[in-house]
Structures are given as structure tokens and as C-alpha cells.
């Protein structure tokens, strides 16, 4: 089983390189700003969000019927439809289809679902070469890393580092960092892979129940090449990717790219409605925990996520700590909601990797109340006994203190006095994580409650600690 991952430690390690952390923050803030300009350019933006949210709520509520409708319509178009209960079943189905072709070379366009199912390693141990064809994904694949962001998988890598990677794997000139030169090298490399491939795998952005068709959005056209050059196309999708009608698609297509990258629409929005003559088209519909989320009253709306990544671009924690600090296939706010649903213990630190600023909730194009769901996860983590005893004990002690106003007032007076009198080294040390980088407030002599009693009720105050200082202070 995977070990428990702690976000604070990984985040601290990333932030220790302040210039990289700042650069990452700036790159994502640039995307968020582009998104703002695009959203501003549509007077109906909030209406689109509301409509999208309602469509998704309806879809999730009626998911079994909508899935069956999709299956029937896709089959009528000659598509092979497969159902997978979990990641393992998904991987076996995909491997089986590839084996039936006696194929060993696969090209794959971007699909978070196949990341979630860890498809690549499964195929690789079974002797299949899988090449990620999204440029960012190919870069992280060469480097043996995971995507750090669901839309911008290599956003954590600088162009100089891409140059080093390409020099090693593609034989480009050492030290090269010109994006055009590097992109051309990647293009030539990927072209040969496209031409050799026997099977193409893509994800699915939206599947339309009414038509049995589906849509894949890319900026590089790599899904089109991957789906068109090989004879067999396998499309892998989570069951939540459904929308009921073709007309609903217009809402989501307008929201997706604007939210994701600040483009009005992705460069390629490709519609697939059945196999080409003499070719095969397979769709694998995967549950892998989605039904469980659908059954929960608290987190159901998270299934409406269209994987635009806007919550990551806006999240002040994500921007500074980098996507890998989440140690999850889907990082950032939505990942911090979805990951604990898959394995609460392993991902228990993620709902706390959040200042509850609420920016993710307001940026989300389908209005998932992300920061409230993160708060709900904290309640579940605490009630499942997954919080360190130090934290629960501190909270219980605080609660007891606050239930007794006199003891609270006394503790406050003692604390303020200690802050004034104790040597600095007693206050600023490792036991006080606040004070490692921040000064503590200058403690006042008198609390407000004490002032109130003296000035408004005219009674002398017994904080237990009322001292000469207090009188001098006035």
C-alpha cells in the first residue's frame, strides 16, 4: 500500500527554492489572468456557469439512464463499448484490445483517466510501447515524472530543462532552449511514433448520450493524429464525462478552454461518431470509485468536474507549492477532494493544504463548492481518527478553555505577560513554528474584556493578573 503522504513537507521542500516557486506562481497567475480576461469578455459568463452546473447535476442524478442511452447510441454507430468497475479492469480491457491486434506500439493523447488507472506501466510490463503524444506529457514521460498539472502537465519544467531532456533522449544540441527549435525536434520525433503506431488511445472530454458520439479537445492536434493514423482507436473515459444532449455541449465547450488556459476554444475540438471504414473504435467506461462519490451527499457535485484545471491555476497553495507536492494523480483543490475519496488515509493531509480562501469555488466553471468540500473532508478525517493526536488534543484543550471564560481570561493575561517578559529565546524557537519567520504581535497590557469592565461597567476587573503595568498603560 502507498505510504501516507504529507503535503506540508513536500511543499516546504519545493518552496525552499524560492525563485522556482515564484516562477511557478507567476506562470500560473499569468494563465489565471488570461482566464479572467476571457471570462470578462462574455457578459453571460455567470449564466453559463449556472447552466453547466445544472446540466451536470441533472446528469449525475440520472447517470444510469444517461449511460445506457449513450451505450445504445454508440453501439448503433458501430462502437465497441466496454465497462470497467475499477482501474485494474480498465487496464486489462485495454491490454486485451491491443493484444487482439497483435500490436506492440501505442500512441496516447492526454487522458487523466489513464493516469488515474496507471495504464502506462501496466502496458509497459506487458511488452507494449506507449508514447504520450501531448508535448508536455511526452516531456514528463521522458523524465520519468508524473504530470504536475492536469492541463499543463509540464508547467513545473523550465525550457532549459526541456533542452537538457531532449538532448539526452532526442539528440538535440546540448544547451538548446529555444522553444521553436525544441518543439520542432519533438514534432519530428512524435511524427515517427504516430506513423509506426498500431493503436491510438485518447481520453474523452465530453460524451453525448443523445448521439453516442464524443469529443476530444487538444491544442496540439495529437489526439486527431493518434485516432486517425492507427487502425484502432481506444477512448478511455470516466462515467462522469457524459452530458445528455448535443446542445449541452455548446455550454461546456465555451467554458472549458476559457477556464483552462484563457483561450476562447481549444485549437482542436474533435468529434468522433463511430469507427472509420475498416477500423475499430472502442470506448471504455470506467467507474473506479465514481459511483461511491455519486452516493455521497457531501461530494456528489465533484463529479461535475470537467478537468479544466482552473482551480489549480487560481489556488495560492498550488501555485507556490507545485503540483507534485500533492502526491496525487489529480492535484490542487479538486484533487484534494477526489484523492481522499479514493484513499482517505493516504491523502489525509490534502484537505488541509488549503487556506479556505474560496477562490477555487468561485473560479470553478461548474460551481463545485470546492473549499466547502475540503472543509467537509476535514470533518470526516477527524471523525475517522486520522488526525494526529497532537492536533485533536490541542483542539479539545482549546475548546475546554473557551468554555470557561474566567480561565480563558486568566490564561490570556498570563500569556500576554509571558510574551512581554520572557527572553526572546524562550519565545522564538523550534517549538513555535509561527515565530520562525514571523514576529508575534506586541502583547497589550490589557484585554478588551478588562477594558470594558473598567470603562463601561465601572467595576474593577479581576483578570487574576491585573497589574501596575495596566494602570501605567492608561
Amino acid at each position: 500500500m502507498a505510504t501516507v503522504s504529507e503535503h506540508p513537507e513536500k511543499a516546504a521542500a519545493y518552496i525552499a527554492d524560492r525563485s522556482r516557486s515564484r516562477w511557478h506562481d507567476g506562470a500560473l497567475w499569468f494563465v489565471r489572468s488570461k482566464r479572467d480576461r476571457m471570462a470578462h469578455s462574455l457578459p453571460e459568463w455567470e449564466r453559463l456557469r449556472s447552466t453547466a452546473s445544472q446540466i451536470k447535476a441533472h446528469t449525475i442524478a440520472n447517470l444510469p439512464e444517461i449511460l445506457q442511452q449513450f451505450e445504445a447510441n454508440a453501439k448503433a454507430r458501430g462502437v465497441h463499448v466496454h465497462w470497467a468497475a475499477d482501474a485494474q479492469e480498465h487496464n486489462e480491457i485495454v491490454l486485451e484490445i491491443i493484444r487482439k491486434q497483435n500490436a506492440t506500439r501505442v500512441v496516447k493523447s492526454k487522458s487523466m483517466l489513464t493516469e488515474e488507472c496507471h495504464l502506462n506501466p501496466h502496458l509497459e510490463v506487458n511488452g507494449i510501447e506507449v508514447i504520450d503524444t501531448d508535448l508536455g506529457e511526452r516531456i514528463v514521460q521522458m523524465r520519468g515524472e508524473r504530470p504536475s498539472h492536469i492541463v499543463l502537465p509540464a508547467i513545473h519544467i523550465k525550457k532549459e530543462e526541456v533542452g537538457e531532456t531532449f538532448a539526452k533522449y532526442l539528440g538535440t544540441e546540448p544547451g538548446a532552449s529555444d522553444p521553436q527549435y525544441l518543439t520542432e525536434a519533438a514534432r519530428q520525433h512524435l511524427r515517427s511514433k504516430f506513423l509506426e503506431a498500431e493503436v491510438g488511445i485518447t481520453g474523452v472530454n465530453f460524451a453525448i448520450a443523445e448521439t453516442g458520439g464524443f469529443v476530444v479537445c487538444t491544442n496540439e492536434g495529437n489526439a486527431d493524429l493518434g485516432a486517425s493514423l492507427p487502425r484502432v482507436h481506444i477512448a478511455c473515459m470516466g462515467i462522469e464525462k457524459l452530458i445528455p444532449r448535443l446542445v449541452d455541449l455548446s455550454v461546456f465547450v465555451r467554458l472549458l478552454a476559457r477556464s483552462a488556459t484563457g483561450q476562447p476554444i481549444t485549437t482542436y475540438t474533435s468529434h468522433f461518431h463511430g469507427p472509420r471504414p475498416g477500423c475499430e473504435l472502442h470506448i471504455v467506461l470506467v467507474d473506479n470509485g465514481r459511483s461511491r462519490i455519486r452516493d455521497s451527499d457531501e461530494f456528489r457535485s465533484a463529479l461535475g468536474c470537467i478537468r479544466c484545471g482552473a482551480c489549480m491555476n487560481t489556488c495560492p497553495v498550488f501555485r507556490r507549492s507545485g503540483g507534485h507536492s500533492y502526491d496525487a494523480v489529480v492535484p490542487g483543490p479538486i484533487g484534494s477532494v477526489l484523492s481522499p475519496a479514493a484513499d482517505t488515509k493516504q491523502h489525509r493531509s490534502l484537505p488541509y493544504a488549503c487556506s479556505l480562501c474560496g477562490s477555487c469555488t468561485d473560479v470553478c466553471p461548474v460551481k463545485i463548492p470546492l473549499h466547502h468540500q475540503l472543509l467537509t473532508w476535514r470533518q470526516q478525517i477527524a471523525s475517522q481518527g486520522l488526525l494526529p493526536v497532537s492536533k485533536t488534543a490541542a483542539m479539545r484543550a482549546g475548546s475546554m478553555l473557551f468554555q470557561h471564560p474566567r480561565i480563558y481570561a486568566l490564561a490570556g493575561a498570563l500569556g500576554r505577560r509571558a510574551l512581554r517578559w520572557l527572553p526572546k529565546s524562550w519565545i522564538y524557537n523550534r517549538a513555535n513554528p509561527w515565530g520562525l519567520d514571523r514576529d508575534l504581535p506586541e502583547p497589550p497590557v490589557e484585554s478588551f474584556r478588562s477594558w470594558w469592565q473598567t470603562n463601561r461597567q465601572g467595576t474593577s476587573v479581576d483578570e487574576g493578573m491585573k497589574s501596575k503595568e495596566a494602570k501605567n498603560g492608561k
Binding site: I15, C354, S359, S399, Y408, R416, W451
Partner: protein, 263 residues
């Protein structure tokens, strides 16, 4: 009309002048204000950690103490939001809850919507960087945020804008979180500090002399960084600005004598 003054625990203990300034504003507006002295904390630190069992008795105490008042006013968006938006997780079956929620207001919201006060006689000749605290902005909707395309009156800013001599500097990131986030500031120290330093930097680059916010908790964190850096930036709670404090006075937490006829 009875107004109950809801003073967050850390303001009571560490920033009493913010509470005094709040009281002066409310009394100056002709209101009868009471401070139920048995109040302590609304339970937000516990609830935000997920420890609802520890927060529940504090929410219940709050209802007992503040039920008698016509209005409950608090100089913190975060603590107000706790009562209004999160108490239902704790005491949702209490018949008093909905009514108390509808009577609980953040200070600027109260002075803007419920009991409008004119501050045009005030003077504050400083360049102000307004730090829009997240809970006030995105949970109480004290203004419009940069994520949503919805025009909303900016209640904190419009109160400050009445004050003579006060000018606003324009920040690069108008409503970015400061990184305090309650226990987040300690749990996720590295991220919290990085966020805070960036926030301070934005204000410094914009030429702010005084950073003003409606939540002292944000300012506690930001001042801690400013003080450590030795940066030339004062911090003030909006109540202190509206009550006529000067920046040099406000950074000292001790209570000042009444600031004369400021209203």
C-alpha cells in the same frame, strides 16, 4: 435597539484597540452596545480543523449569549462567516440559529447596509493598500471578487473611500489570499509564509503606506512578516481607520484614550 458586540478571541486578547474602535463607531452612530463578557471564541479554529465535537459547545454558548440582541456585530468577516455559514454544521437543529444568523453582521456590512454612517468628516491622509480578506469577500460577499463576473458593492472600500485624504493604491493581485488561514499558518508554514511575503511585496510595490483589512487575523500574519522584514508598512484594521486612529498609534496594540470627536 440592543447591539451585542461580538469580539473575536484574538482581538480581545491581542488587539483590544480594534474592539474599542468598533465600539466607538457603533456608539458614535447612536447605538446602545453591550459586550456579553462571558463570550470567548466562536469555535472557528476547531471547526476549520474538522474537530466539530470540540467546536459544538462553543457554538451553543454563542447562541445562548447573543440570542437576546437585536443585532450582533463583529469586526471580523471570518468569525461572522463562521456564525452565518458554518454554525449549521454544529448546531443545525437549534431553533434559534436561523434568526441569530440573520442578525449577525460583519462591522463594515453593518455600517454599510443596516445602519449607514457618514465618514466624510474624517481625515486619513495616507496611501492605503486594501487587503480584501477572503472570508469577507467570498463567504460574506462584502465586495465582488476577481473570479466571479458579478458586480457587487464593495462595502469595505466604499466606507474607507468616504474618508478625506485617504487614497487607495492599486495592487497587482487585488484579492489574493494572505496565507493566514487559521491553523494553516502553522500546519503549512512554508506555503503560508510564501503567500504572506508575496502579499506584503504587492502592497510595497504599489506604494502603500498603510495596509488596511477588515480581518485582524490576516493582519496579524502579515504584520508578523512585515516586522521581521523591517518593512516600512503599517497595518490597521478598518475600524481603527474609521475611528480616527493614526497609523503610528495603531501598530501599538495598547488601548488609546478616546480619539476625540471623530464622528
Amino acid at each position: 435597539m440592543r447591539v451585542g458586540l461580538f469580539v473575536p478571541c484574538y482581538i480581545d486578547q491581542m488587539y483590544p484597540d480594534v474592539a474599542v474602535a468598533t465600539l466607538e463607531l457603533l456608539e458614535g452612530a447612536g447605538l446602545k452596545v453591550e459586550f456579553p463578557a462571558a463570550q470567548t471564541c466562536c469555535g472557528q479554529p476547531m471547526a476549520n480543523t474538522g474537530c466539530n465535537d470540540a467546536a459544538r459547545p462553543l457554538a451553543a454558548r454563542f447562541l445562548d449569549l447573543f440570542d437576546p440582541f437585536d443585532y450582533i456585530v463583529c469586526p471580523s468577516g471570518s468569525c461572522t462567516s463562521m456564525v452565518r455559514n458554518h454554525f449549521s454544521d454544529l448546531v443545525g437543529n437549534d431553533p434559534r440559529l436561523a434568526s441569530i444568523q440573520s442578525r449577525t453582521f460583519e462591522l463594515c456590512e453593518f455600517l454599510h447596509d443596516v445602519h449607514p454612517v457618514d465618514f466624510s468628516g474624517n481625515r486619513f491622509p495616507f496611501r492605503v493598500g486594501l487587503h480584501q480578506s477572503c472570508h469577507g469577500l467570498r463567504e460574506l460577499r462584502l465586495g465582488g471578487d476577481s473570479e466571479q463576473m458579478i458586480e457587487r458593492p464593495d462595502k469595505v472600500r466604499s466606507l474607507l473611500a468616504q474618508v478625506q485624504g485617504l487614497s487607495f493604491v492599486e495592487l497587482q493581485r487585488v484579492d489574493e489570499c494572505c496565507g493566514f488561514g487559521g491553523t494553516f499558518a502553522v500546519n503549512e508554514r512554508a506555503v503560508s509564509v510564501a503567500m504572506g511575503e508575496d502579499r506584503v511585496q504587492d502592497h510595497l510595490e504599489a506604494g502603500a503606506e498603510v495596509m488596511v483589512a477588515s480581518d485582524m487575523s490576516c493582519l496579524m500574519h502579515l504584520w508578523g512578516l512585515i516586522s521581521r522584514q523591517g518593512s516600512p508598512l503599517a497595518v490597521m484594521h478598518v475600524a481603527q481607520v474609521l475611528a480616527g486612529r493614526s497609523p503610528s498609534v495603531s501598530v501599538k496594540n495598547s488601548i488609546k484614550p478616546k480619539a476625540g470627536n471623530v464622528l
